[in-house]
């Protein structure tokens, strides 16, 4: 109870210092928040592109229905494959007419349908990698009635290279931002504790235990971090709304990220307090 009372009293006694510490924490986490929104949206965009990765298996005109059915069954039994869809020659022509209306006349004048039947293979989440795609294509190619398989190897390779670069960049920049945020939060909390070093000294003087001294400061550090985290979320959300309305549509980060961000603020504040206090508690 004393710890809670003292932590809250410290906010009341030095509102400017509290506001400054909270603002420093908020700004540090705001940068992290903006980065989180950017990386989340990049990740989502890549996911959407990735969902379009599929293998198309073209079958010869003389392939029997039972053979195609067997092919589909075998492909569906692979862990990489989520689903398969068969498109007959007629379906292919129909789709071509819809997709390429400018060639409508050409398609009408055809005496023979030149488009092959095909099986489109949808890959499961987590299996849209160049290796999985190639494995599925190789399996389909074994069948003699399969004329060709297409999956845009070059395109898939580039997509995954882009994804890898994105992942590494996110990890490096994210870590750097997190470290900078931790240092700023640490400094803000240290300043707050430095301002109250005389209080710590008096507590030591009259016989306070380490725990008694530490508790309100830890709580204060955690509260500063949580408040700063909350403020950072509000600032990030305002920026997200602004960009979404004025420039281009963005996705808001998941709730778990928001909670994790605020909790990280609290944890950083708590750890920074514990670290800063060590020095003053060492002074007997």
């Amino acid at each position: 109870m004393h710890a809670i009372r003292e932590a809250l009293a410290a906010f009341r006694r030095a509102p400017l210092l509290t506001a400054l510490s909270t603002a420093m924490v908020a700004l540090a986490l705001y940068v992290v928040g903006l980065f989180a929104v950017a990386s989340y949206n990049l990740h989502e965009a890549l996911e959407r592109v990735e969902e379009r990765v599929e293998v198309v298996v073209y079958v010869r005109d003389d392939a029997r229905d039972s053979e195609i059915q067997l092919l589909e069954e075998e492909l569906r039994s692979m862990e990489e494959v989520a689903d398969t869809r068969y498109y007959s020659k007629e379906d292919a022509l129909q789709r071509a007419r819809v997709d390429l209306p400018e060639f409508e006349e050409l398609f009408t004048d055809l005496e023979v349908n030149p488009l092959p039947a095909s099986v489109e293979v949808e890959l499961g989440a987590g299996f849209r990698t160049p290796e999985s795609v190639a494995r599925v294509a190789d399996r389909a190619s074994i069948y003699p009635f399969v004329e060709a398989t297409r999956y845009g190897q070059e395109w898939v390779d580039r997509l995954f290279l882009l994804r890898r670069i994105g992942g590494i960049t996110t990890a490096i920049l994210g870590s750097a931002f997190a470290v900078v945020a931790a240092l700023i939060i640490g400094t803000a909390v240290r300043i707050a504790i430095f301002a109250r070093r005389e209080e710590i000294h008096v507590m030591r003087l009259v016989g306070a235990t380490h725990g008694f001294i530490r508790r309100p400061f830890l709580l204060e550090g955690a509260l500063t971090g949580i408040l700063g985290g909350g403020l950072a979320v509000a600032l990030t959300y305002a920026s997200y709304l602004g960009v979404s309305r004025l420039i281009f549509r963005l996705e808001w980060i998941p709730l778990e990220w928001v909670v994790a961000g605020i909790a990280a603020g609290g944890l950083f504040g708590l750890l920074a307090s514990a670290f800063a206090l060590r020095r003053y508690l060492r002074e007997v």
Binding site: E199, V202, R204, V206, G207, A208, F212, V284
Partner: protein, 235 residues
């Protein structure tokens, strides 16, 4: 109550601050600790308060030995030994009463008793009527009285004072001295460091311990001193 056994304190850069110092202050005794600046007065008080530990010998205070007590356990000693500084060290932004109740709260006084106990302590140092004033609104003498009231929060057996009158005018200094005498009369041992020899001379019945360059060079209670005229203390 306080016993220093061949105590030496050596710092890496400054060298020896105390050199083989031994003396004892008994329960209910009042003693001045005098000497030049840098003679080792503050170091002695810090060792007694266990704000620092000796590099040789042993300090015994209220049953706590410097050879056994760890920095984590020092709080137990602090609840039996009060400390008053020259520069008061009151918490800014708090009233006289809040400065005292802060110490009471730290030492576990129930919340509902804080105000009444704080006022009682302030009354004991003659500041009952100024309990609501901010620390900076009080005079130097009054601030030192608040600091003493704070030091009394634990009902200590020993009161250590490091130049408590150093920042005060003569009248205020006498007032603080009378307060110490009053506390001593109630059974509290008082060890007061001062370089003010006029103040020391004004209380001839008080024991004097004199340090010079880290060595105890004079003890008015020592048997040889009792037999002979006390050496001149004009340092």
């Amino acid at each position: 109550m306080i016993k220093l056994n061949h105590v030496t304190k050596e710092y890496a850069r400054r060298g020896k601050a105390l050199d083989d110092v031994s003396f004892q202050v008994k329960k209910g005794e009042f003693a001045f600790l005098t000497g030049h600046s840098g003679s080792g007065k503050s170091t002695t008080l810090r060792l007694i308060h266990m704000a620092d530990f000796p590099t040789g010998g042993e300090v015994l205070v209220c049953g706590f030995s410097s050879n056994v007590t760890t920095p984590r356990d020092v709080w137990k000693l602090r609840r039996r030994v009060g400390f008053v500084f020259q520069e008061f060290r009151l918490l800014p932004g708090r009233t006289a009463l809040q400065n005292v109740t802060f110490a009471l709260e730290v030492t576990g006084t129930p919340r509902k008793e804080l105000a009444s106990q704080g006022r009682r302590l302030l009354a004991q140092v003659g500041l009952a009527v100024k309990s609501g004033m901010q620390a900076h609104e009080l005079s130097g003498g009054e601030q030192q009285r608040v600091a003493i009231a704070r030091a009394l929060a634990n009902e200590p057996l020993v009161l250590l004072a490091d130049e408590p009158t150093g920042n005060l005018d003569e009248r205020a200094a006498r007032g603080i001295m009378e307060l110490f005498r009053d506390l001593n009369a109630r059974g509290m041992a008082v060890l007061m460091a001062t370089h003010d020899l006029d103040l020391v001379r004004a209380y001839p019945d008080v024991r004097v311990l004199e340090l010079n360059e880290g060595r105890l060079v004079f003890d008015s209670a020592a048997p040889e001193v009792a037999d002979e005229p006390a050496p001149a203390r004009d340092a």
